[in-house]
């Protein structure tokens, strides 16, 4: 069912959301092409998190279109579970992992497979699943911590575990909210490398405040302000844009 003709992986057109009269998103429009990595910046309250909520089905837009995969799916009509099943993964701003579960179990729960009640009740371990988990543990460098409970990990390790969970989900599109928050410089650079690695076969949207990190990513940047797009382009173009400097970067 083709709802909209577009080549975009993600297509937002005129999306508005308001909470008690406050316009969190105001006629927001942008497109993300398949395979692209996009950095989204903007001051607090610019609507970055609300935008993610709309894409992942947590918040329904009052107005506007949100289409996924060349216009095949109208995301504004689906809920979180359905959207996750379609292949959109989300990393929260505050690392959100299952603290009481081991690192391994966190990844197991995230693996892309049948998530119905019946399937999990009669689930059996398989070597294919174990291989996939081992592979991800290598990528996020948590192999030695596999049996530890996630609650005992450091902040940076939790961020990586959550990224690992996103990988396990095998999404087509990843939304990553402030992955470098609270990380050391070295960890920040490693995280940038990790995201570039992921971007090889997945589309990625990164919301980030850390300009050094965004520069390191070296991708197209969209700056949001008061719920709509203020500027879009390369990091050099955007960071020299007068209005961006005024509202966000400061003189």
């Amino acid at each position: 069912m083709q709802l909209k003709t577009t080549s975009a992986m993600l297509y937002l057109d005129g999306v508005s959301v308001s909470f008690d009269g406050f316009k969190a998103l105001n006629q927001l429009s942008f497109v993300i092409e398949p395979g692209e990595m996009r950095a989204i910046i903007g001051p607090n309250g610019a609507g970055k998190t609300t935008m993610m909520d709309v894409i992942t089905g947590k918040t329904r837009p009052d107005d506007g279109d949100v289409y996924f995969e060349q216009g095949a799916y109208d995301l504004s009509k689906l809920d979180e579970t359905e959207i996750a099943e379609l292949g959109i993964g989300r990393k929260f701003q505050k690392p959100t992992v299952f603290d009481m579960h081991t690192v391994e179990d966190n990844l197991l729960l995230a693996l892309k497979n049948d998530h119905s009640v019946r399937a999990t009740l009669f689930w059996e371990d398989s070597s294919a699943q174990q291989d996939r988990i081992n592979q991800i543990l290598d990528i996020i460098q948590l192999g030695s911590a596999r049996a530890r409970v996630a609650g005992s990990l450091s902040h940076g390790q939790k961020q990586w575990l959550e990224i690992g969970m996103l990988l396990a989900q095998e999404p087509k599109l990843l939304l990553v909210d402030e992955p470098a928050a609270g990380m050391t410089d070295a960890e920040t650079m490693q995280t940038a490398e990790l995201l570039k690695e992921i971007n090889r076969d997945k589309t990625v949207i990164v919301v980030e405040h850390d300009m050094a990190f965004v520069r390191e990513l070296g991708v197209k940047v969209t700056c949001l302000h008061e719920g709509s797009v203020l500027a879009e382009g390369s990091i050099d173009q955007v960071s020299t844009d007068e209005r961006v400097v005024e509202v966000y970067l400061g003189r």
Partner: protein, 381 residues
């Protein structure tokens, strides 16, 4: 089939618990039936019935632990499912009285004759058959839980709001069952039972049979709970408990998980209530009282939520204390003791008895393994 390996179902504390329960189910009837009353070892029939009651409470606690301890659903109305299971059994027992009632009506229970009813209400049909009643013991509480859960979980009612509406549910049912025209005996409830499956409910032997049956039912419920919580389903439940939104964004249909486990739990509570009624000899609307449900939650908190064995232990400890404190001169102080216990557990023992023990053991194991863990990186390099 390797789907349920025994090692998965039975960890050390589960195995210890089941062995103790089996020993209990064998020793108590032996001491009651075979040891003469004059002996110090003799267990009175009063105690047999009391222990049978505790086992039913333990089953109720287990059902609460399954949803509260693992899925984070704090039901403060689980007594309702217990009572409904009890009423289903009570209806069967009423129909067994037959012509031995005060009014000797072969079909109608005494209270209906007294109310001048001439026909058995449709929903009483079939309860003269034990098999039908046994089915209803699961179905009636299960159906109520399913419908209630369907609306509550779909609307994403969680936390304290869910707890409040479960309280409202049991309170509303209590008011309903108090009414004579509901057809469940009004405030007197159902009592004066004579036979269960042809055995006299008052007889010493029947009491022992009921105790053993209760222990058996508790064993089965416990194994079902273990199978659920040790499966991947159980891991998803804990995930929902600790980070519901995260679980949704991973593509799990959270409401379906909650609905399944809530309904399963209600069925177990119903079985507990059904076994409870013949042992205490009465079921009346006060079983729906909100206080009962809250007390059952305290049992779980005392024993340790999320441990299963803790729920059983908690039910025994608190109810034994209740029996002790409500007989004799201490009787007026029971509610103070219960309230104090709840505060003490929350402040001093937030993991409960079993939870604290398991935590202490896990820490000890961790401490022992630290030297090995410290060596590991060097070995790897």
């Amino acid at each position: 089939m390797g789907a349920f390996p025994l090692t998965r179902l039975l960890d050390r504390s589960s195995a210890v618990f089941l062995i103790l329960l089996a020993a209990f189910a064998m020793v108590i009837p032996t001491l009651n039936l075979l040891v003469p009353a004059s002996s110090d070892l003799h267990v009175s029939t009063y105690l047999v019935a009391l222990f049978g009651k505790y086992i039913c409470y333990a089953m109720l606690a287990l059902s609460i632990d399954l949803i509260w301890g693992y899925a984070g659903i704090l039901s403060l109305g689980h007594g309702a499912f217990f009572a409904i299971g009890g009423y289903a059994m009570g209806m069967y027992l009423m129909r067994q009285i037959g012509t031995r009632g005060v009014y000797a009506n072969p079909i109608l229970p005494d209270f209906m004759v007294f109310l001048n009813w001439h026909e058995l209400p449709v929903y009483w049909y079939g309860f003269n058959y034990f098999a039908y009643a046994a089915l209803m013991i699961f179905l009636a509480p299960g159906l109520l839980a399913f419908v209630f859960g369907w609306f509550a979980f779909r609307s994403r009612v969680t936390g304290v709001y869910l707890s409040i509406i479960t309280q409202a549910m049991t309170f509303a049912l209590m008011l309903g069952f108090f009414r004579n025209n509901f057809g469940f005996g009004g405030n007197n409830g159902l009592t004066d039972f004579k036979d269960i499956l042809g055995l006299n409910v008052q007889a010493e032997k029947t009491r022992n049979v009921l105790l053993v049956a209760s222990c058996l039912a508790l064993t089965i419920c416990f194994l079902i709970c273990r199978a659920v919580v040790t499966s991947k389903f159980g891991k998803v439940l804990v995930a929902i408990r600790d980070a519901e939104a995260r679980t949704r964004f991973l593509g799990y249909r959270v409401e379906a998980y909650k609905l399944f486990v809530f309904t399963l739990s209600a069925c177990m509570a119903g079985v507990a209530g059904a076994l409870y009624v013949p042992q205490v000899g009465i079921i009346n609307p006060s079983e729906f009282a909100p206080g009962n449900s809250i007390e059952a939650v305290i049992w779980v908190a005392v024993g340790g939520r999320g441990t299963l064995t803790g729920a059983v232990l908690g039910a025994f400890v608190v109810n034994y204390a209740k029996t002790f404190f409500t007989t004799g001169w201490l009787a007026p102080y029971w509610l103070f003791v219960l309230g104090g216990l709840f505060i003490a557990v929350t402040l001093l023992l937030p993991r409960g008895i079993i939870g604290t023990y398991e935590w202490w053991r896990a820490r000890r194991v961790e401490k022992q393994s630290i030297p090995i863990a410290a060596e590991a990186p060097h070995a790897a390099e």
